[in-house]
């Protein structure tokens, strides 16, 4: 970067964004590999991690193991390899909307309708719970559609360089 040049000019915010992460190959299964993502930020790498109250919920390692995922083994990967994978930035937003916004909107619509129609707390409460259940069902259908289209799948980008981390 040239000294004196505004730093923000170096970043092209209109470029298609990809969220990158590093994962470890833990198993081979036919033409596919199982990966476990490495912890990138927040709790696991916090200086107070050893004394943190949220540790009781489950260790970082166990939580990451729950998030293992599978990709096609087009690059001849072996167990122990570290790879860089990517998720399109809009996928995370779409996933959040599917998982959280759809049930919330359904719940609020049902609750508001019941409040307007009956004006009673108990009726509103029952309608809200019913709306939540319906919203979760719609969310499940939408998630299935996204999964079938392959929109939620992480993409293999390249092998990680030795010593490379998410923050480097």
């Amino acid at each position: 970067m040239i000294v004196g040049e505004p730093a923000y000019s170096a970043t092209d915010y209109s470029a298609p964004a990809m969220i990158e992460g590093i994962a470890l190959v833990v198993a081979l299964e036919g033409n596919r590999v199982w990966l476990v993502p490495e912890q990138s930020s927040s709790c696991g790498s916090c200086a107070s991690a050893s004394a943190c109250g949220s540790k009781g919920i489950g260790t970082t390692a166990s939580r990451l193991d729950k998030r293992r995922f599978r990709i096609d083994n087009g690059a001849n990967l072996a167990v122990g390899d570290r790879v860089v994978f990517g998720i399109r930035e809009n996928v995370l937003l779409r996933a959040s909307i599917t998982a959280y916004a759809i049930p919330l909107v359904a719940m609020l619509l049902a609750g508001s309708l019941a409040q307007w129609k009956f004006g009673s707390d108990l009726a509103t409460m029952a309608a809200t719970v019913a709306g939540l259940v319906i919203g979760l069902w719609i969310s499940r259908v939408e998630a299935g559609r996204l999964h079938t289209r392959g929109d939620l799948a992480p993409l293999f980008l390249r092998r990680a360089r030795p010593g490379e981390t998410c923050n480097s």
Partner: protein, 193 residues
Amino acid sequence: MKEYILLMFSAALVNNVILGRFLGLCPTMGVTTRLDAAVGMGMATTFVMTVAAIAGWTINTLLLEPFGLGYLRTITFILIIASTVQFTEMVVKKISPSLFQLLGIYLPLITTNCAVLGIALLLVADKMSFISSVLFALGSAMGFSLVLVIFAGLRERLAVMDVPRLFAGPPIAFIVVSLLALAFMGFSGMGAS
């Protein structure tokens, strides 16, 4: 209708949970280094805060108040929030394992988010009706998410700025968030005539 809109507006902007009540400062500093993490955390917190408020109001109204168990409120709400987070995690995993891979990492952090407990206690202390409680919790959560996203955007820009070494990292982030709090104080001057 107007009172509900004002309630949500007030909860989201005028009495913003982060910049007005100074709750939930841990995720504000912890997950705002990247915009995508802030969006994921914001959406998850919005869902959990609203559902926890509904569960909290219901248990407080139907169980704690009629039986004079008000002294158990805080511990009950902590249990409700932890259960809500676990419920959400199970539901997301059941709905779609792919969604769980993308979003699951944010959920356990919400259990220790004091903003969720703070909002649940506030709406009970103010003796709100059910629908007001839901809208108050939703408005507060939307305000929380809004600040996370704004702050994450600012921090992404800060990361490529030429900041003096003394201020680099958390110090400049704290200065930015305090300026953001000053900006949000402007909303308190708005009238509802």
